[in-house]
């Protein structure tokens, strides 16, 4: 079943934490809620589960309004940020708790518990108490405990924040495959955009009590719609430009963040929000920028800007060159076969459709047509 939040508002002591928040999550979807600390992620989950009462707005699960149902009636599994295992119960009894509540006893109960313990591979730990477990094992226990009741919706609040990188990777892969196997609609909260890409079918970015953008991970990462989303997902290449000339399909813009004597104009694909003389923000994904040597030929269709490599870094996803194009710096992915040195002069090349405006509007309507082109 899907879950829908409609116009949810919530404030604490007069400070608005959620502001008219709308969110629609489809049946069987792995939905990632991405956002900075204090953005209202936990509050959103808590409202979904009925643990926090919203000031206004409604929550429905599978089309049925559950706004007035208490948490124990909502058929939701919740994995808490701090695991929240029952400290006085063993791993087995922690997992069995939800079944005992439902008066499932004896052989059937044992079978179900063992089944989920083995799904998350902690069968060996079943006799231990929470304080005898490692972080990863606590994590797995909490997951098994939430799944064993076969909930309609699984809510997970930064479940991996306390794990080391290696364990994170294993648990993440297991989590994804378990979710696909049982097909439970999942809402997963994180502030780590890598997790969002790796886990999410769709990602929504929550900022300051609002959803700024909902999109598939690849769409989100290549076409962020607001400066906040762009910066939050780690996009460094944001160009401030002013529009000089607009044709049928293309526009000519001047990069205004460069100094006046370093004026550079480029051609970009036309978008509906373009208007002559307007100042807008464009972003370019580092992977869409090609670096070429000064003596290399460049395709006429591409934009070409002279630049100088000022630094090389590795952000974990490969090497990046930071190129100064005259007052503005751009990050460009360095292909493995491209050998370059710091302070080398290069051409920064990209296609006119590589830059994307941070317009704040949806690119895709529900029927996945590009709305931008029509408007």
């Amino acid at each position: 079943m899907g879950i829908t939040l409609e116009k949810i508002s919530k404030s604490y002591d007069g400070r608005a934490v959620l502001k008219n928040l709308n969110l629609e999550i489809n049946q069987g979807e792995f939905h990632v809620l991405l956002g900075p600390s204090g953005g209202g992620k936990t509050t959103t989950l808590s409202v979904m589960a009925g643990l926090t009462e919203q000031d206004s707005g409604s929550v429905s699960i599978g089309g049925q309004d559950v706004s007035n149902l208490s948490p124990d009636k909502r058929r939701i599994g919740f994995v808490f940020q701090d695991h929240a295992l029952f400290p006085h119960l063993t791993v087995f009894d922690n997992v069995a708790y939800g079944l005992r509540v439902r008066r499932i006893k004896g052989h059937e109960m044992t079978r179900k518990v063992e089944n989920y313990l083995s799904k998350v591979s902690i069968v060996k730990e079943k006799g231990k108490f929470p304080h005898q477990l490692s972080g990863g094992q606590k994590q797995r226990t909490a997951l098994a405990r939430a799944l064993v009741i076969e909930p309609e919706i699984l809510l997970m609040d930064e479940p991996m924040s306390s794990l080391d990188a290696m364990t994170k990777e294993t648990v993440r892969d297991e989590l994804k495959s378990i979710q696909q196997e049982i097909g439970v609609t999942t809402v997963y909260v994180t502030h780590d955009h890598n997790e969002a890409v790796l886990l999410g079918d769709r990602v929504s970015v929550l900022n300051n009590g609002r959803v700024e953008q909902i999109e598939s991970p690849s769409e989100l990462f290549h076409h962020p719609k607001t400066e906040f989303v762009a910066r939050f997902i780690g996009i460094k290449n944001i160009l401030k430009v002013s529009l000089i000339e607009i044709n049928n399909h293309e526009a000519t813009v001047r990069i205004s963040s460069n100094g006046p004597d370093q004026s550079v104009t480029i051609r970009v694909k036309k978008y509906p929000i373009f208007g002559k003389g307007k100042e807008i923000n464009l972003c370019i994904h580092p992977k869409k920028i090609m670096l070429k040597r000064e003596d290399e030929a460049v395709d006429d269709n591409l934009n070409r800007i002279r630049g100088k490599i000022v630094k090389k870094t590795n952000n974990g996803n490969g090497f990046m060159a930071i190129v100064d194009i005259g007052g503005t710096t751009l990050y460009a992915a360095i292909p493995t076969n491209f050998d370059c040195k710091v302070y080398e002069n290069v051409w920064v090349c990209f296609a006119p459709d590589a830059p994307h405006p941070l317009c704040g509007k949806k690119c895709r309507a529900a029927e996945t047509k590009r709305r931008c082109l029509k408007e």
Binding site: A49, L51, S70, P71, D72, K73, R74, R75, I76, G77, F78, F80, Q81, D82, A84, L85, F86, P87, H88, Y97, G98, V101, R102, R145, A146, I149
Partner: protein, 259 residues
């Protein structure tokens, strides 16, 4: 040199404190012999005082649990209007002189008041009875249970309670299976302190229940009565027995707190 003399002064003061506590107790032990002690403890009057004390104080612990746990739960888990007032009411009996509490109860329950008169008409007379003792002891000792249980409830991770709710458990089931077991140590501590307070209660009890031998004479009342009428041996015997009870409770309390 300076710091040495400072340490010495502090140690001397601590020594005075130790004397303050230990000397009176030694005095108690030296006034009596073992044979005399046994003889006194076998006397019917002393025996009845011990039994009355145990009966009333244990009943008080039971009622304190029944009344105190819900109040502690309310104070720990809920936000409501008048919470501060309830909170102050819990502290009040601890600060209030027991004699004042006793007087208030005497007036309320006595036949001259409306409430007491109503009870009397229904054949219930709480004054000068064991029931009166229980009410007086409950009044002064229940705050210890409430405060201790409340702290225990409050120290439980809220998400653990939320986890139980999202797993489908009702509030009552959660209370039974999560809150009570996790607050167990705090509740035990509260019970022990309540019992100790009830056992040692004198002021309010004697006001409400008087000192009727074999009927309302508790151990503390017996100590006072015997001492005032010159029966030092009997008084000492009861006092020593009460000390043994207190020490045992203290030991149990200390070992609980460590867990």
């Amino acid at each position: 040199m300076k710091s040495l003399s400072f340490d010495l002064t502090v140690s001397l003061i601590a020594g005075i404190f130790v004397c303050l506590i230990v000397l009176p107790m030694l005095a108690l032990f030296t006034t009596t012999s073992f044979g005399e002690l046994v003889r006194q403890l076998k006397s019917p009057l002393v025996l009845s005082a011990v039994l009355i004390s145990l009966e009333t104080s244990l009943t008080v612990v039971f009622f304190a649990l029944c009344l105190g746990i819900p109040v502690a739960y309310l104070l720990a888990m809920k936000d409501f209007k008048g919470k501060e007032i309830l909170d102050t009411l819990v502290d009040l009996p601890i600060c209030m002189p027991p004699l004042v509490a006793g007087l208030a109860l005497l007036i309320l329950l006595g036949g001259n008041s409306k409430f007491g008169g109503m009870l009397n008409n229904h054949g219930i007379n709480l004054i000068f009875s064991k029931k009166g003792i229980i009410i007086a002891q409950l009044f002064v000792s229940i705050p210890f249970l409430i405060k201790s249980a409340r702290d225990a409830f409050e120290s439980i991770n809220k998400n653990v309670i939320n986890a139980s709710l999202t797993l489908g458990a009702s509030k009552f089931y959660t209370f039974k299976k999560i809150l009570l077991p996790l607050a167990r140590n705090g509740i035990y501590t509260g019970m022990i302190m309540t019992w100790a307070r009830a056992l040692g209660e004198f002021g309010a009890t004697s006001m409400v229940a008087g000192c009727i031998p074999f009927r309302t004479e508790t151990m503390t009342v017996a100590i006072y009565q015997n001492a005032m009428s010159g029966e030092l041996a009997a008084s000492t015997a009861v006092a020593l027995l009460l000390l043994v009870f207190s020490f045992t409770l203290l030991l149990v309390f200390k070992s609980r707190v460590k867990i």
